[in-house]
Point group: C2
Chain length 82, copies 2
């Protein structure tokens, strides 16, 4: 089973990397970019019997820093994972 | 308009960060993890008249390293972006 985990900085937490990218996009001449936030994409291939709770625990214990980051979990169907 | 860009290492490119996370998950007692790949999540807030081609150009010129990375673009509807 493919699981996609998106880890983002919490709203309000400064994102200097995003700001640098925003600035660079403007420097390259891309207008109309209002905001850029950078996060992590973690793609897991786990056994089919892995419970939602286990995936949640992985995020809380290792994959996300719960002090400054939020995460969301998306299970991919077989077609999306291809 | 919210746009989500997922940047992943191309298949076959070694992912030491993913391997380290995989190892750590096993160390924490999570069984059944078969593979871990780490990528970047870039969330843009762009003007509504931004064309797909412009977003593509942003990825190719700045956001992804086309030598070793692939990217995919997902436009979020207003409900998903909330």
């Amino acid at each position: 089973m493919k699981v996609r985990i998106l880890v983002r900085l919490k709203p309000g937490v400064l994102d200097p990397q995003g700001r640098a990218v925003h600035h660079s996009l403007e420097g390259l001449g891309f207008d109309g970019v209002e905001d850029v936030r950078i996060g992590r994409l973690i793609e897991l291939d786990v056994a089919d019997n892995t419970s939602d709770e286990q995936i949640d625990q992985m995020c809380q214990q290792l994959l996300a820093n719960m002090v400054i980051e939020d995460y969301s979990i998306e299970k991919l169907s077989a077609s999306e994972a291809a």
